[in-house]
Amino acid sequence: MTTRITSWLAGAATLAILATPLTAAQDNVSSFVLDNGLELVVIEDHRAPVVVHMVWYRAGAADEAPGVSGIAHFLEHLMFKGTDTLAPGEFSKTVAANGGSDNAFTSFDYTAYFQTVAADRLDLMMQMEADRMVNLQLAEHEVLTERDVILEERNQRTENDPGALNREQQTAALYMNHPYGVPIIGWRHEMEQLDRQDALNFYEEFYAPNNAIVIVAGDVNPDEALALAQDNYGMLPANADLAPRERVSEPPQLAERRMTFTDPRVAQPYVVRTYLAPERDSGAQRQAAALQLFAELLGGGQTAALPQALQFDTQVAVYSSAFYRGLSLDDTSFGLVVVPAEGVSLTEAEDAMDAAVAAYLDAGVDEAHLERIKFQLKAAQIYERDNVSSMARRYGAALTSGLTLDDIEAWPEILQSITPEEIIAAGRRVVNRKASVTSYLQGADSAEVSQ
């Protein structure tokens, strides 16, 4: 329904991250680098005469300068507002006139633009993306109107949803120094001040072929795609001033943080715990793999440890889960959520949650359960071959999060090779309360449970 979407980190209260393995070998993937530094990845699927064309920039909300939060996402909107040769709105109009659809999304570590079109329109899509990579033109009134749009977007996604506000506060508390603590869509008071020059500054700094990855997925041959990419993107100048992607890091976290978010719009209270956690690093993905499996074992569906302990063996909760997102350039988070049953306080729910996790770490991994998860991961590789655009997204997100094609290819095997001992060790390391935030989300009349 709505478009030009901001991608968010996993909704802490609602999502358990499902395992999504990646296999370069089976996926029929080729890759190239043009002379100007632009990377091209081609994923072949010839079942239907359709292609998805995506441009991923290694620039997201966490690459913003202080004071202009939301500018990466705002620029994403403004990229549809015209170039030297295209009028505002003409980009999408041209895609539609070719029977295609287009959109874009922004996350902490990337901004991406994509079109789904008939395979014979790929050339035109590349031509237009290459054009707006270097020729963006922004009229002042377009910028101001679009700023109202992103403020309405923030209203819709965040201000109108106490769960989203709680998540925003919690993430801000988890990261004491790193920009992941600043929301992707931006803090409202800074969004209200964003202007044309802020957008152009971000554009000049980060939008260039040597900071971009083009992914073409669908009914295309690698050689054809390469020739088209060379024609369209090959002559664009690299940005010689592109700085290495170095971000500030977290200091040692020495004190656990606790917060209570009270809002009359909350009818169903819940508790969320997030821990600072390692992400998938190039050449070193085992710990992240162990954490992904740990999250599945604790929270991935009916047979997982938290629902078993809190919803089946006892009736402490109506819902419980664990989540982890390994794809991230810098330290990510590992989370637990419990929605208490009626009559159970948030404190009791939190205690039961901690007891269940501690009991699991003491008892060790249920090996039959682990085998089931590993088989599902293998099957997921087969199921995902049915959806070439989701495969394109996985590649784009991985390549803009510091991983290489080799890392992507190795990942499924790494997941299969993780031992119960590695999972317990990774689990013990991650549940460090000093590097955690615990939030109570509650309605106005339930203040007594927060103590």
Binding site: T2, T3, R47, A48, P49, V50, F80, G89, S92, K93, A96, A97, N98, G99, G100, S101, T116, V117, A118, L144, T145, E146, R147, D148, V149, I150, E152, N155, E159, N160, G218, P264, R265, A267, Q268, G301, Q302, T303, Q308, F312, Q315, V318, A341, E342, A368, H369, E371, R372, F375, Q376, K378, A379, A380, I382, Y383, D386, N387, V388, S389, G443
Partner: protein, 440 residues
């Protein structure tokens, strides 16, 4: 031996139709199983899995009087155990073979979607069969899942989107099942008994209100045998389907006060049926007026030009028992009154003047070009095929659909716009604390 015989009969009853989409080459086979179950199949063997879609007409509208929420709760309980398996056993068995089942219910249908590996077909179907035909509905599971439904109902009482939907449906559909929230109310859900759940199961999962499609690595013969085993023992319907309801509104705005920064608006009036002679002109007209694409008039006027919303769209809603024409958007409390004025103006303008030649051509180009792109995965093809059956279409539709779009003329649009856009009946429900807006 028996297996062999069944296979032979399935072959004989298979009627193969080939539909050539503009570009996508989707071959739909209409099959009838040896036991008489009809299904559409798109066989595609390059990936070793099958996507199977089942739809039961009636859905949550089959709730008996005073038992609102029974079909919804029943649907959620289908995975909570069958035979000697409890909920955990059932989940573990599905996980062990990586079979994925999802069960969902709406006002028109109860939907079951399955995805399973070809090599695990037999085990997957045995599990799915148990959940559909012989769920245990144990009391402890009823109570546990009921608590989840009640938790969701509580959350909905303070969610502006849920509040707007609930109130709008109440106004539009009145006493018809469409007019109330299918999850039920705290009172009705709390009072549901195991017998109510069993009745809901008996009322809804019936063989003569079933639509089936499959896409992926399975042959017509195999599918026929599979369907008889999976669904052959379903009973026939005993209770009638709901009555049709006529939507009647007059122009107006109803404000539901709720303290939140952004107001949510849902609007609309009556629409037309899927088989109305003007359906294609109406579909193209709405593409131009409110499809949600950036070229659509509402999106252009309310978002692109004035920045009053993040997204706005309108849609035809030809359901099984009512036809509506609806839309929705959200705007900050101090801007929603202005946004509503723009929507009303656009509605009137299109009703009186239709669209421009250029808009019509652009919409046709987009709609006809985009159609083939929908058929891009087995999962999508299976969903499209089952949806076509629900709409009472034939596989041939895939070949004629674009021609029907192309055939729409300016005169068709003018006539249809004057007929289906009803500014005098356009009713808005607004949830929030809108400034300068009162119920009128």
């Amino acid at each position: 031996m028996i297996m062999q015989k069944l296979l032979m009969r399935a072959v004989l009853l298979t009627l193969v139709l080939t539909s050539h989409v503009a570009q996508a080459d989707v071959k739909i086979q209409e099959i009838t199983s040896p036991g008489g179950i009809k299904a559409w199949l798109s066989e595609e063997t390059s990936i070793p899995f099958v996507a199977l879609e089942l739809r039961f007409k009636g859905g949550a509208s089959m709730d008996r009087p005073g038992k609102r929420g029974a079909v919804n709760l029943m649907t959620a309980l289908l995975v909570e155990g069958t035979g000697d398996m409890d909920a955990r056993d059932f989940a573990a068995a599905s996980e062990a073979i990586a079979a994925q089942f999802s069960y969902d219910v709406g006002g028109d249908t109860l939907s079951i979607s399955a995805r399973f590996l070809t090599e695990k077909t037999e085990e997957s179907m045995a599990l799915l069969r148990g959940s559909i035909l012989a769920p245990n509905f144990p009391q402890d599971a009823i109570d546990r899942v009921r608590a989840q439904v009640l938790s969701g109902l509580a959350s909905d009482t303070t969610d502006p989107n849920a509040k707007a939907r609930a109130r709008f449906n109440e106004v539009i559909y009145g006493d018809h099942p469409y007019g109330s929230v299918l999850d039920g109310t705290v009172e009705t859900v709390s009072a549901l008994t195991r017998e109510d759940i069993q009745n809901a199961h008996r009322d809804t999962l019936v063989k003569d209100r079933l639509y089936v499609s499959a896409a992926g690595d399975i042959s017509a013969e195999e599918l026929g045998v599979l369907l008889d085993k999976l669904l052959g023992d379903l009973p026939l319907s005993e209770r009638p389907l709901p009555d049709h309801v006529q939507i009647e509104t007059t122009a107006g705005i109803e404000v539901v006060e709720f303290d939140t920064p952004q107001s949510v608006a849902i609007f609309g009036h009556k629409g037309i049926t899927r088989h109305d002679p003007d359906f294609f002109p109406a579909y193209v007209l709405n593409e131009i007026l409110g499809s949600g694409g950036f070229e659509a008039r509402l999106m252009h006027e309310v978002r692109e030009k004035r920045g009053l919303t993040y997204g706005i769209y309108s849609y035809l809603s030809p359901r099984d028992y009512a036809e509506g024409y609806f839309g929705s958007f959200s705007s900050a409390n101090d801007r929603i009154a202005q946004a509503i004025e723009v929507v009303k103006e656009e509605w009137t303008k299109a009703a009186e003047n239709g669209v421009t030649e250029e808009e019509l051509e652009a919409a046709k180009t987009y709609l006809t070009g985009a159609y083939a792109l929908r058929f891009d995965s087995n999962a999508a093809i299976a969903r499209i095929m089952v949806g076509m059956q629900q709409d009472d279409l034939t596989p041939e539709y895939i070949n004629t659909r674009n021609a029907n779009i192309e055939a729409v003329t300016m005169e068709d649009i003018r006539r249809t716009a004057a007929r289906i856009l009803r500014p005098d009946e356009l009713y808005f429900v607004v949830v929030g604390h809108p400034e300068g807006l009162m119920t009128q």
